[in-house]
């Protein structure tokens, strides 16, 4: 009998595996790079001329325009952690005020669900699997849409989210009128200063220097978060697997929600958490009822990145905006989870949408394009 590489034969790995401790240290370095990126981004915008900045962000003073900008930016970078960190950096730089940032944050929340919706399209060839997968993905979209429908008008009329977040900022870190002494900001000042000095030594100044700082800052944020996510996923994969296995047996929504939040904080990506759920839903291992609270937890967990970024800015306004993100998601949970009838709304809508998608597969792709690209793009162009 010829052996041609059994999956079970004793494996002798020739590939060097990064030791766990080294990988964890690498993540800490990446986190430092991320925070430095946020600092550079804010500094870059401060360096730009007022007219240029006003021109760039004139569309976001319209709340719907701001919503679409946040959505589109998140879809483009495929990460709400990146986009919300950027928004926090803009607020810290004084480029965008808290009131304009809130709809952008809500839009970022919407945009992050495109990843798992795309993941569900991988099951498009099998009716039953596709129905389950698409429902699992779109329940996230629909929860976020419903939360925006409820809380954006409330926020515009009452300022509920921003004033509550502002109060929390005052309580936690002191006066909201001036910068606070953030140890994280002190830590990232030096590398940011080196980059600024390097750019100055290369002859750049004014708007050019500002643009270069923004580009470098965005690069730092994007690359560091991508690698943090990749490495954290490897570091915590076994724990995530154990947690999901436990959640399958648990039955409790609150436990599932907490696990969703903890997993997302660990891997620094709600898209990873919710995308892992899609094949589990497709295979029938998890029901939509199981997935819904994990998704809600992931929504809250992903706000930690922006909170961390805001603490590095030293700007109370930035911290307020980051807290708005968390508060928005928690408020959505308070409305759309505890009460059975309201809890069923996004679930029933997701089931209905997936029924339609199974009958008309092209609609599933159209939905994704229209909801995440065409409508926000048109919205941004028209409302500018």
């Amino acid at each position: 009998m010829k052996t041609a590489g059994s999956a079970f034969s004793k494996k002798i790995s020739t590939k060097w595996e990064i030791p766990t401790l080294l990988r964890a240290l690498f993540v800490i370095v990446l986190l430092y790079l991320f925070l430095t990126g946020v600092e550079l981004l804010g500094g870059g915008f401060k360096n730009l001329g007022k007219d240029l900045v006003d021109g760039l962000f004139e569309g976001v003073s319209n709340p719907v325009g701001g919503l679409f900008v946040g959505l589109l930016a998140t879809v483009l970078v495929q990460s709400s952690s990146v986009s919300t960190s950027v928004i926090v950096g803009l607020v810290a730089a004084g480029v965008v005020n808290t009131g304009d940032a809130v709809p952008m944050i809500m839009g970022a929340n919407l945009g992050t669900t495109v990843t798992n919706t795309l993941a569900s399209l991988g099951h498009v060839r099998h009716d039953v699997e596709f129905k389950r997968a698409f429902a699992a993905a779109t329940v996230h979209d629909l929860f976020n849409i419903l939360a925006v429908i409820v809380f954006l008008p409330i926020e515009l009329i009452t300022g509920y989210l921003s004033s509550t977040a502002s109060w929390l900022t005052d309580t936690l870190i002191g006066s909201s009128g001036s910068d606070f002494k953030s140890p994280l900001k002190q830590a990232v000042k030096l590398p940011a200063k080196w980059v600024k000095e390097l750019l100055s030594s290369m002859g750049s100044q004014g708007d050019i220097k500002g643009v270069l700082m923004i580009v470098i800052g965005l690069l730092f944020i994007f690359v560091s978060l991508a690698f943090i996510t990749k490495n954290m996923r490897l570091l915590v994969a076994d724990r995530v697997e154990t947690a999901i296995n436990h959640a399958l047996g648990a039955g409790s929504g609150i436990v599932a929600m907490l696990l969703g939040a903890i997993i997302t904080i660990s891997v620094q990506s709600s898209s990873i958490t919710t995308s892992v759920l899609v094949p589990l839903a497709a295979s029938g291992v998890l029901t939509l009822g199981n997935i819904y609270p994990i998704t809600l937890g992931a929504n809250v967990g992903t706000t930690v990145t922006a909170l961390l970024a805001s603490l590095a800015t030293g700007s109370p306004a930035a911290v307020t905006v980051a807290i708005v993100h968390t508060l928005f998601n928690i408020s959505g949970i308070i409305v759309f989870y505890p009460f059975q009838k309201l809890r069923q709304i996004p679930i029933n809508l997701a089931n209905r949408l997936s029924d339609i998608a199974v009958e008309h597969r092209s609609l599933a792709l159209s939905y994704t394009l229209i909801a995440f690209v065409i409508v926000p793009l048109l919205g941004v162009l028209i409302l500018r």
């Binding site: 052996t3 999956a7 079970f8 076994d238 724990r239 399958l248 436990v255 589990l280």
Partner: protein
């Protein structure tokens, strides 16, 4: 349960799954021993409940393992796909062993007993060998012992040929159906148990695409 996330898991996902597979193997051996004892003079009523409960346990474990495999594949991506597919295949074979053990017990419930049979000694000897083979199956799997796996499969081939011959002899015999048919069924079920246990062990030496492919003629094996 939430705090369990912060504790280092004692076993990896696949190690945990393998532990569950070993439990399935132990249960399969247990139901085999009970079923064979029932048809070779043991008390039928006393073991009926235990066989059914253990068989349900085997089925429940299979479902749990399948679920755990899907979770593992979703979390870790495609990196362990061959092992995941191999486990999926393997637990199906172990579950089938449990089913055939129940089929053997069904003979006892129908009143079949081989205590008066001229082949009783042979049946007892086969019983002992197949029972220890089920246990050995689990051992070879956990040690990933390729040499012992080959020897195991070769011996399995001989046993299957022997069972086939016995069934063929009974088909052509002039013996009364009331004695011939139960023995034919017994040897048929024993052949299937032997084949499925060889299938399980084949995971140690065969690639995923060639698992089980010695159930057919040995000529088709590469």
């Amino acid at each position: 349960m939430v705090m369990s996330f912060f504790r280092r898991p004692e076993e990896s996902g696949l190690e945990n799954i393998e532990a569950q597979v070993q439990r399935m193997v132990n249960d399969a051996r247990h139901t085999f021993d009970l079923a064979l004892s029932a048809v070779t003079g043991g008390a039928v009523e006393t073991v009926a409940n235990e066989i059914r409960t253990t068989d349900r346990q085997i089925n429940a474990t299979e479902i749990e393992i399948r679920r755990a495999l899907v979770v593992h594949a979703s979390v870790h991506g495609g990196i362990d796909t061959p092992e995941v597919l191999t486990f999926m295949n393997m637990i199906k074979d172990i579950e089938r062993i449990g089913d055939y053990n129940k089929n053997i017990f069904d003979l006892a419930e129908e009143g079949v007993s081989f205590t008066e049979s001229p082949e009783l000694e042979s049946i007892i000897s086969i019983r002992d060998e197949v029972s220890s083979r089920i246990s050995l199956m689990g051992e070879i799997l956990s040690l990933r012992d390729e040499d012992r796996a080959r020897i195991y499969i070769e011996r399995g081939d001989k046993l299957r040929r022997d069972f086939d011959q016995r069934v063929t002899d009974l088909v052509h015999s002039t013996e009364a159906a009331v004695t011939a048919v139960p023995r034919a069924l017994l040897f048929r079920f024993l052949k299937r148990v032997t084949a499925h246990s060889s299938n399980v062990v084949s995971a140690v030496i065969m690639p995923v695409d060639q698992l089980d492919y010695f159930d057919e003629s040995e000529d088709t094996r590469s």
